[in-house]
Amino acid sequence: MALTKEQIAQRIAQELKDGYYVNLGIGIPTLVANYVPEGIEVILQSENGMLGIGPFPEKGTADPDLINAGKQTVTVLPGGSFFDSSASFGMIRGGHVDLTVLGAFEVSEKGDIASWKIPGKMVKGMGGAMDLVAAAKNIVVAMQHCSKDGQSKLLKACTLPLTGVNCVKKIVSDLAVIEVTDEGFKLLERAPGVSVEEIKAATEGKLIVEGEIPEMKL
């Protein structure tokens, strides 16, 4: 069975380590915050200027001066901090953020990512995505393996305008966990009940399969 969005987030949460500073993008990545493993502490960064993002506010307590990068009202946890946008991207660019999780339209076998613009559709802008992918030490992409009409989104080369090149380290899709290596997409884990053959068929880029591929543990 292909993973649900929640399960993709749950699997990505297993990448978190105690003490990590993490930037979560909009969409599935945001859900990762719900699955932080017991006994470890991670601090969430929001590129509009905060560390220590807390849960959404209780009804009636939302603060217009306290939002996340998706412009949703949030809270700040004890020990959090606020700073301006240039300091925020300084900590991103300077390699201080341990892990960045974001969504993508396409990823190439070289680790290129396309996530911000679809020609012919309204261009909204890249926001902070180009800064994040160009600088983060460790980038995990949360995505669907194929488009709604069955086209692979893990490609030899991206067809859409790029957000960054040679930067994605790992992909957690609804079908598989994949490491992006110099040689191509290396299959690490399968979604429960999904075969290697199914993953191969859904992957246009070069898929490296070595030995027995275990099922994900969720």
Binding site: N48, L66, I67, S86, M122, G128
Partner: protein, 229 residues
Amino acid sequence: MNKVVKNAKEAIQGITDGMTLMVGGFGLSGIPENCITALVESGVKGLTCISNNAGVDDFGLGLLLQKRQIKKMISSYVGENAEFERQLLNGELEVDLIPQGTLAERCRAGGAGIPAFFVPAGYGTEVAEGKEVRVFNGKPHLLEHALTADFAIVKAWKGDTHGNLIYRNTANNFNQPMATAGKITIAEVEELVPFGELDPNQIHTPGIFVNRIFQGTDYEKRIERLTER
């Protein structure tokens, strides 16, 4: 020293057609509401606005777009505004989209006397077109130039009569770097106090960067995406 002006109308004196403005805020958080309203009322047009976003249809910079007062936007994300989209598709509006961190740093550099700098963001993408590339520590970087503006307009939580500013929570965002990069910087604040009353340890923007300051009124502080538990 007298930086205090009566209101937004007085603060925006000297902003004329065709000027370049920096406008602080992220989404609708920390935007200079009073000055935006005063700019709409002034009828000034042909503006180039450097601002992370372009407001929504009926609030923030969306109000200036509705009156066709903006010629060009320099932003990182402009997706929340239908009038913006219409003007863009009709070729009535120019837009320069810039990675958010690069935009913030270009403002900071403008205020700090750094004419240009190298960053990795955008390398290998359409953002890199026409830009010098240099490799540092094995990684390609793009040459980006500083931004300055005829006027920078920022919003702070508290300010004093010397122009010292304190921002609140995530309403700091672009206000702090932009406050440094205006030929003239206007600050509107929720609470204006006599100098000496703010703790010098808590100041985000030292008054040296601020030319005009006033206490704003009737802050709506609209929430773009109310999300509750």
